[in-house]
Symmetry: C2
Subunit: 223 residues, 2 copies
């Protein structure tokens, strides 16, 4: 479904070139749950942003179903993101002047085959917080609305950047089970960033990132 | 140093009253490292915001060195926050159009007895990112600048809301050791929110919060 060849992302900071990603090669297959694991600053968010068409590579190739993303126009990338990708960012997910329910509904409206907003909010345990605004929700509650908003679009690819970082163990398990269920039941591809190693157990394969490079890929026998 | 009696925070949402905190009683002593532990939505950030003078209680009493905070004027609260409290929020800590170094310097400028900005950035492992803007830093790097910015003020009380939520194990340990060192060496009071139980090991005492109430307090023999 997704192929990367010699993918690079460099930032020029005065005299210094920051190599956020260097020569990354991989393939991701439809229906897989991939975890990207690595330390702070290693390049995980940079990689996710490239795969999701949120950002473009400095060098190298990136394909979605054989369509090149690395040299796509901004218009083509916007089309790709809207129709094929659901995103849970590390921060800043929600529209501040819409309620939780309205945030999820807005996302459903721009989708081709959306799921039910009320049902998604119930699945993340927030049935009683639907009329709250983001500022009236706890950090973890905001992140759960963000997940409901991404999933309701029913996208082919779900990209999640540290979705459970601000959530306690119990809520994390609930959210991860929802992701796994979404991946298996609807045959979606889920790519999940975490620095929390036990979480990686739910993956089909784990991509280890260190200093901007893909150091190894391991497969989980029984995720 | 800090005393709370029957502290309550309620939010009116139409017909429903959300009891974010209910009848919380505790004392915190100078030089203690307190961890507030509890599930998502249990009231941890609400409690921290009250203690830090960022918010005011609906009912009950809150004292800092016998000075009441619960009925202080906005002006008095601003004075209290500026001179006595260093804060690391769960999100939105940094000024986006200042570099990491400038963010920490600004904080040092408004303080009475600041520490060295360059030194604090080095202590959080970001000596090579000082000229980066927040948008050019990873999630974990931003949080580390936020910590440097809070500590450089040399405040009596340091309040940290999930400071290591977005950080990997190694960086978390580095940051927590810095907090513990700051607490012991300068005899400061540190209050730290986490949902991550192993982190609570560094505390002198742990405040367990559940459904807006302080369910119990335990002491660590050997933190
Ligand atoms: N816009 C930018 N300009 C310059 N450097 C950047 C920019 N964005 C990221 N970087 C650098 O690239 C590196 C990788 O960043 P990235 O955000 O991908 O890390 P990460 O693995 O997601 O980290 P974290 O776990 O802390 O979120 C970091 O060291 C960061 O400083
Ligand atoms: N401004 C507000 N208006 C209405 N309800 C609020 C407001 N702020 C917080 N709440 C509610 O109060 C409860 C406690 O919120 P709080 O942010 O203190 O939780 P928390 O323990 O910090 O959670 P997390 O670990 O998810 O950050 C939550 O259920 C939240 O929905
Ligand atoms: Mg990141
Ligand atoms: Mg919170």
């Amino acid at each position: 479904l997704i192929t990367a060849k010699a993918l690079c992302k460099y930032y020029q900071m005065g005299d210094i070139t920051v190599k956020a990603l260097q020569n990354v090669d991989f393939s991701i297959y439809s229906g897989e749950l991939i975890v990207i694991l690595g330390p702070s600053g290693s390049g995980k968010s940079t990689l996710l942003n490239l795969v999701g068409g949120m950002d473009q590579a400095t060098r190298g190739e990136l394909y979605y179903k054989n369509t090149p993303l690395h040299n796509a126009s901004p218009k083509q990338l916007t089309f790709f993101r809207r129709n094929n990708v659901g995103f849970v960012f590390q921060f800043y997910n929600l529209i501040p002047n819409l309620t939780a329910y309205e945030n999820v509904c807005l996302s459903a409206e721009i989708a081709q085959n959306p799921l039910s907003p009320g049902e998604m909010l119930e699945k993340v345990g927030l049935a009683e917080r639907t009329s709250h605004f983001p500022a009236q929700l706890s950090g973890g509650e905001q992140q759960r609305v963000a997940l409901a908003r991404a999933i309701v679009k029913n996208p082919e690819i779900l990209l999640c950047d540290e979705p459970t970082g601000a959530l306690d163990y119990q809520t994390s398990i609930q959210v991860l089970q929802l992701l796994k269920h979404f991946c298996e039941e609807y045959h979606k591809t889920v790519i999940l960033i975490t620095h929390n190693t036990p979480i990686a157990q739910i993956a089909n394969r784990i991509f280890y990132i260190k200093d901007g490079q893909l150091s190894r890929i391991t497969a989980n026998e029984q995720p």
